[in-house]
């Protein structure tokens, strides 16, 4: 006896929609995206959900649920602090990529960069992004500091956060400077020679500091290894800690300053 088919076969579109709904409703999906997430099934734009998007996600470590209306204006912050942080992330990502192809020894370093540029897919592109991103970060951090100063945003209760900011600026310069040596070309070698000679003029401890940083009296393979470790581990580690305190203090001191 023939079975009567009373409903037409579901189309591909309907199947896809059904599968999508099933995925969104699955336990795995709802365990990843907490209530209020915009990726959850049936998300609606309501004040409650707008609060949940922040409150129920990892973003709550960075942002409060609500911010001052004027804080959202691009013309006030020019996004400089946020962009500095974003560039730091971008530099971390591109930097990790570069680490796969680089050996910090005097005999290999330059050739590794050369090979990276000529033989590795996107190698040249990623190195360019890392270098220009680094210069851009120095610039945005500096401009961020100027912006904060001109808005008087370092005034109580934000004095200490200003101090942390100056430390972050110094660390940014140190990160950039240690990275400058790593390509091990003529530009790197002699720029760092000039820079470290200046350091050697510090009173009392100058020559000792220079000796420790260079791993000897002259720049050499030991210097390259030291600066590599400083560049990829020590300074990023320190700067992340200071950034965490910096961002935390922004919130604890009552959000960003202003309006003027």
């Amino acid at each position: 006896m023939a079975k009567v088919i009373d409903s037409p076969r579901p189309t591909l579109k309907e199947r896809a929609a059904k599968l999508g709904q099933a995925t969104l409703g699955s336990q795995a999906w709802t365990s990843i995206f907490r209530p209020g997430s915009i990726f959850r099934k049936g998300y609606t734009d309501s004040p409650r959900n707008r609060s949940y998007v922040i409150m129920n996600s990892v973003l709550y470590h960075l942002h409060p649920v609500k911010v001052k209306r004027h804080a959202v204006k691009v013309s006030y912050t020019l996004c400089l602090g946020g962009l500095s942080f974003f560039l730091f992330i971008l530099l971390t990502v591109t930097g990790i990529f570069l680490m796969f192809f680089y050996r910090p020894t005097a005999t290999n370093a330059w050739e590794d960069i050369q090979t990276l540029q000529t033989s590795v897919t996107f190698g040249l592109m990623v190195r360019n992004m890392h270098r220009w991103g680094a210069h851009l970060m120095v610039l945005t951090v500096f401009l961020h500091m100027s912006r904060v100063f001109y808005h008087g945003a370092y005034k109580p209760p934000r004095e200490f956060n200003w101090v942390i900011g100056v430390v972050l600026l110094t660390l940014t310069l140190l990160l950039s400077f240690t990275g400058y040596l790593l390509p091990w070309d003529q530009l790197a070698l002699w720029a760092v020679t000039v820079g470290t000679n200046m350091m050697g003029y510090s009173p009392v401890i100058g020559s000792q500091v220079r000796f420790v940083l260079l791993g000897g009296v002259e720049i050499g393979s030991e210097t390259l290894l030291r600066w590599y470790v400083l560049h990829v581990l020590l300074f990023p580690f320190i700067i992340v800690i200071f950034m965490a305190v910096h961002f935390w203090r922004v919130r604890k001191d009552g959000g960003i300053s202003g309006p003027l």
């Binding site: 959202v72 330059w110 100056v166 400077f177 070309d185």
Partner: protein, 244 residues
């Protein structure tokens, strides 16, 4: 029953006098009974006492029901025809401590996150295109026996290198930048002016601008106006001796 504070009584008395002066003979009932409670409310209270406890809701119904019967105004209506009376306005500061003034706020999502997202995309796009067009420099492999002329520090240290041409290395390389950095840190503690309005802080703004311009000019001279032997040149005459 709590006692009404002295100052409130005084204020009420003043308001009463003022109202009396304004409306003249408009308040005969008050003058007669020396009370601001309208006669019909007093009547109602008396009726309630006589009839025992009556639920408020019932009574409100009763008022509405009897309203047309009394003609004119409803039984419970006040002088302006209102059915409620404003007993007193309690400002929030008098019963609870107000620590902060309310601030105009918006939700971080979507208002701030959208801006941040667009800014990061724009930044990535800019960096991507720039890296596509301009290659990072990679000169000859490091050679200790061949000193390039001129040898320049990274651009952000060129201000210091420029100072080296004018002062003793200890002054130019350590003392001046050290003082600059300490002054920058202490600025937050030395500036006692509480205002953040630009018109109130012309001195600090000028000081910072001079400070920033000082370094900017030094960096620009060091970058573009110094040639072989770190001697002064013009970039349009001898070319640029500068690598990023």
């Amino acid at each position: 029953m709590t006692e009404i504070p002295e100052h409130l009584l005084k204020r009420a008395q003043e308001a009463r006098d003022k109202a009396a002066a304004a409306s003249g003979a408009d308040a005969p009932s008050e003058a007669a009974g020396d009370s601001r409670i309208p006669q019909h409310l007093l009547d109602r209270t008396r009726a309630a006492r006589a009839g025992g406890a009556v639920a408020v809701a019932d009574k409100a119904d009763a008022v509405v029901a009897t309203a047309p019967a009394s003609g004119g105004l409803p039984l419970a209506a006040g002088p302006g025809g209102h059915t409620q009376r404003l007993l007193t306005v309690v400002k929030s500061g008098s019963i609870q401590e107000v620590k902060t003034l309310p601030v105009d706020k918006v939700h971080t999502w979507p208002h701030l996150l959208a801006v941040e997202f667009v800014a990061s995309l724009a930044c990535t796009a800019f960096l991507f295109v720039f890296s596509w067009v301009v290659n990072a420099p990679l000169l000859q492999a490091a050679n200790f026996n061949q000193t390039p002329n001129p040898s320049k520090a990274p651009w952000y240290f060129l201000g210091l290198q420029e100072l080296l041409t004018m002062f003793h290395p200890m002054i130019a390389g350590v003392t001046l930048p050290g003082i600059g950095l300490i002054a920058l840190i202490l600025a937050a503690y030395l500036d006692k002016n509480p205002s953040n309005k630009p018109e109130d802080r012309k001195f600090m703004t000028s000081l910072m601008t001079v400070h920033l311009m000082f370094w900017a000019v030094l960096v620009i001279i060091g970058s573009f106006f110094r040639g072989p032997g770190f001697n002064f040149t013009f970039p349009w005459r001898d070319g640029i001796f500068f690598e990023f």
